[in-house]
């Protein structure tokens, strides 16, 4: 949009009313919300277990490794996987929607 050839201003309201743009905003906010909720659930679930029910975490898992160790490391790995889920979604779905809306803006100018 910084291309000097596109000197006509963007019709902001037309874009905001565009069903593709609305879908894009809705899906982005939805996935951000649910993935944040999943991260918090995983982490605070672990923290609350540690705070109020450490007996559960102290149970043996394998040999002298108790449940607290794989679960703690698991929180780290799950967090990373969730960021991967987001990147995958954004690279395939989101970027395609962004391109579609941008193409509409260009053709309207």
């Amino acid at each position: 949009m910084t291309n000097p050839a596109d000197s006509r201003p963007i019709d902001v309201h037309a874009v905001l009313e565009d069903p593709d743009f609305r879908e894009l905003v809705r899906s982005k906010n939805r996935i951000s919300f649910w993935l944040s909720a999943a991260t918090m659930l995983t982490f605070y679930g672990f923290v609350l277990l540690l705070a109020w029910n450490s007996d559960f975490l102290a149970q043996k898992w394998s040999g002298s490794i108790n449940r607290g160790i794989p679960l703690g490391i698991g929180v780290i790995i799950v967090s990373w996987i969730l960021t991967g889920v987001y990147v995958r979604w954004a690279n395939t779905r989101y970027d395609a929607l962004v391109e579609r809306v941008k193409a509409k803006i260009r053709s309207a100018q």
């Binding site: 902001v12 894009l24 944040s36 605070y44 780290i76 960021t83 991967g84 987001y86």
Partner: protein
């Protein structure tokens, strides 16, 4: 297996040689970067030329401090499971950065996170408030790093505390002053690779002693120190109650998403797509690193022994170094000591650059000159601010030498989570945020977090020497962050800003599409 001696504290020529190689390479990079660091976009943001993968490594470099490497390993080695809460807590903020912050920040801002908050609000009050909270966060973090650095270098290189601070301060000023963001980024990348490599090597050597079986390491730890050592518990030095632990967890998670030197890194990549890739890369490396530090802690407890670890460094800080000496002798110790030094340098350089940007871009260009300044002046102020902050860091390091500053990192995270994060999120997602509301949110978060820490056992009891702390928890964020959100929402409702609400629509175009992003 236990020999109660160490060469730590004596001069290690190999450490000095490794360190000189690091300094030589990074100064060459700074010389190269200096030729490409003229405009403000080059100084603050490496001209947006860093790739997503490179920025991911640099983010990891900015975030993996010597304090967390040595600190977590020490916590685990002396306290057992305790340290894992930090390993996990330092990582879980990154998904939040990814889902809520990284792309809007990249699309809406230019050089600092205040750009985003000020996007549709009145520039001067917002930039003043955001710059103050950025500078406070940076200084708290900087003091903690400098004091830690002085002590560590004194112990590992046999230098005096003051000359250690002077070397760190002088090198950090050189990197930032001449090489700007480009040199700082490459220092971070090199340091990240060295630190990840060093930590991996340590874990490989640990596992080689236990038949490549993670379980045997824990068998040995339980056999030596009893079940209680590996049992998941939280000691009183981490949190005084379950709610306090929750408060710590919230502070670590949302503090990460409000640290100015981390947020600033998202402006070094060309677009939102690369910003998102860099968070994925950073999260992977940082998660891997914290799993390693946790393992190193247990390895040190078993192979070195708690007794020796506690006798050498405060809070078990030398656990990883003692383990390196045990597993690889003087050479490995020398290498890791140099890596720790490089780590400190890289982190303080990133902090100084973030602080200098808040002063020159937000306060000077935004507030004093009302946006009417030229490139040359802004860069000149940024460079002056770099030198001033560097000198200030050395002086504060000297002033706080005898203080226990470990709590300052926690306070920096609490301020970032309370003063910076709520304002940032509200400005991106909430249409009705007004100028007065945003300022109220930043000020409330900052004041409540700082006051509660002053009244907490860490300061009121342990530093001021009072009998009982007025605020019972060690961690304020569970109170201060909701206060900041509440202040933002209530004040915005009482003092609405129709103009800002109207601009939210066009802001949305830029937030979601990147239309008009710089």
């Amino acid at each position: 297996m236990n020999t109660a001696s160490t060469i730590i504290g004596q001069r290690n020529n190999l450490a000095i040689a490794f360190f000189f190689i690091f300094v030589f390479v990074t100064l060459c990079i700074t010389y190269w970067a200096a030729k490409k660091t003229k405009t403000s976009s080059e100084f603050y943001a490496a001209d947006r030329s860093i790739s997503g993968f490179q920025n991911g490594l640099a983010l990891a470099g900015d975030f993996m401090s010597a304090a967390s490497f040595l600190g977590i390993a020490g916590y685990v080695a002396t306290g057992g499971y305790d340290g894992l809460i930090y390993s996990v807590g330092y990582l879980v903020g990154w998904p939040i950065v990814m889902f809520l912050i990284a792309e809007p920040l990249r699309n809406l801002g230019k050089y600092t996170f205040a750009d985003v908050v000020a996007y549709r609000l009145h520039v001067r009050p917002i930039r003043t408030a955001a710059a103050v909270s950025s500078i406070v966060t940076v200084l708290l973090y900087l003091i903690a790093q400098m004091v830690g650095a002085g002590g560590l270098i004194k112990l590992m290189f046999g230098l005096s505390y003051a000359s250690a601070l002077f070397i760190v301060g002088a090198l950090m000023i050189l990197y930032v002053l001449f090489g700007g963001m480009l040199a700082t980024t490459w220092v971070q990348i090199i340091k990240a690779v060295l630190l990840l490599g060093g930590a991996t090597l340590l874990v490989v050597l640990i596992l080689s002693r236990f038949h490549w079986n993670y379980g045997e390491l824990f068998d040995a730890a339980s056999a030596r120190y009893g079940e209680a050592f590996t049992r998941p518990t939280v000691s009183a030095k981490v949190a005084t109650s379950p709610l306090d632990l929750l408060s710590l967890a919230i502070g670590l998670m949302f503090g990460t998403a409000g640290l100015p030197h981390i947020l600033m890194r998202f402006y070094t990549v060309p677009d939102a797509k690369q910003a998102r890739k860099s968070v994925f890369v950073a999260t992977g490396f940082i998660g891997y690193f914290y799993i390693l530090t946790f393992t190193i802690g247990f390895g040190a407890a078993v192979l070195v022994g708690k007794e020796l670890i506690s006798s050498v460094g405060k809070g078990g800080n030398m656990a990883a170094m003692l383990l390196a000496e045990r597993l690889g002798g003087g050479p490995l110790l020398g290498f890791l000591a140099a890596v720790a030094f490089a780590t400190i340098l890289a982190v303080v350089a990133g902090l100084t650059l973030a602080g200098a940007s808040a002063i020159s871009h937000d306060l000077y260009a935004g507030v004093i000159k009302r946006g009417q300044t030229n490139e040359a002046d802004e860069v000149r102020v940024a460079k002056t601010a770099t030198v001033v902050l560097g000198v200030l860091a050395i002086l504060l390091g000297l002033l706080f030498e005898k203080q226990n500053v470990a709590f300052l990192v926690g306070l920096a995270f609490a301020v970032a989570a309370s003063a910076n994060f709520p304002a940032l999120v509200l400005s991106v997602f909430w249409r009705k945020l007004s100028t007065a509301g945003a300022v109220a949110s930043i000020v409330t978060g900052l004041v409540v977090a700082v006051v509660l820490i002053l009244l907490s056992p860490t300061v009121w009891r342990d530093i001021f020497g009072q009998q009982d702390a007025i605020f019972p928890w060690l961690n304020p964020t569970l109170i201060s962050m909701p206060c900041a959100f509440a202040a933002g929402i209530i004040v915005s409702t009482l003092k609405p800003d129709a103009e800002a609400e109207a601009k939210f629509e066009s802001q949305k175009l830029r937030t979601y599409l990147g239309v008009g992003a710089e």
